[in-house]
């Protein structure tokens, strides 16, 4: 990924409790509000963040509570950068995990569409994971600021 200048930045860490899913959405909404994003862009970003954070809680820290880190940046050219990481169980086979409708938890009413949502709602998605040593999801999206 190209290196662009960072115009604003926020790093937060919170425990993998499900009530923090909505908190993460609120944080990202607040962070990008200065860019004056379109309503549909804002919901795309909130949905992608919700997917990544939920995955840390549901899969990464299954049966335990750990720390989720969220790193937000605004880059030159109205680009939003989001990195969400956990130190949980990791993903054995990333390619398979990213296939639409693949889920390791079908009996819990999971659709297996989290990565598909992140991929289609953001411009770029990259997933790094080490089995047993956590997962990092990085996403980018250029925002069309409304003309004031």
């Amino acid at each position: 990924m190209s290196r662009s200048q960072t115009l604003n930045e926020l790093k937060v860490a919170f425990p993998s409790l499900s009530e923090n899913e909505s908190l993460a959405r609120l944080i990202v909404s607040g962070f990008v509000s200065g860019l004056n994003p379109m309503i549909d862009e804002l919901s795309d970003v909130k949905t992608a963040v919700s997917e990544a954070v939920t995955n840390c809680i549901v899969h990464g820290y299954r049966n335990t509570v750990g720390t989720i880190k969220m790193h937000l940046r605004i880059l030159e050219g109205n680009e939003l950068y989001i990195r969400i990481s956990d130190k949980g169980c990791g993903i054995e086979n990333i390619e398979r995990a990213m296939e639409p409708l693949f889920t390791s938890a079908p009996d819990e009413d999971r659709a297996g569409l989290g990565f598909t949502v992140m991929e289609s709602f953001m411009d770029k998605l990259s997933v790094r994971s080490k089995n047993g040593n956590g997962t990092t999801v990085t996403m980018r999206k250029k925002l069309e600021s409304r003309v004031k």
Binding site: S18, E21, T47, S50, T54, D109, R110, T116, V117
Partner: protein, 125 residues
């Protein structure tokens, strides 16, 4: 959320607020109790009051679809607009359930005019 029944053994689930992993299980339990206890022939899940939904909402709808198919009942997904529609479109649910628009709450309430509201409304949060 609100669950209504009309006079034709149909069930209407009016969802509201945000649907994510945190609150999906409570919603799921209420819907499943309504299905189990009334065995409706048709279930409408109405998204008009939903302000946010991620893939947990898709899982919720897919799961109810599977249960209803076993009962031989049909699922209707109602009033998916904007970002909710966008998420739902990724799921391919449109091939499994019928997507409909309309004021179903009014329709259901009118179908049982004269009865007290308490008999119509179940599981109100």
């Amino acid at each position: 959320m609100k669950i209504l029944f009309d006079n034709k053994n149909r069930c209407l689930v009016c969802l509201s607020g945000e649907i994510d992993h945190h609150n999906a299980s409570a919603i799921r339990m209420k819907i499943d109790v309504a299905i189990d206890s009334h065995c409706p022939g048709e279930v409408y899940i109405d998204f008009s009051g939903v302000s946010f939904m991620d893939s947990s909402g898709i899982g919720l709808v897919m799961g109810r679809y599977r249960i209803l198919r076993e009962y031989g009942a049909s699922l209707f997904v109602a009033n998916c607009k904007g970002s909710i529609r966008k998420v739902m479109q990724l799921s391919g649910m449109n091939r499994l359930a019928k997507f409909v628009d309309g004021d179903f709450e009014n329709e259901f309430l009118n179908s049982r005019k004269g009865e007290t509201v308490n008999e119509q409304v179940a599981n109100v949060k």
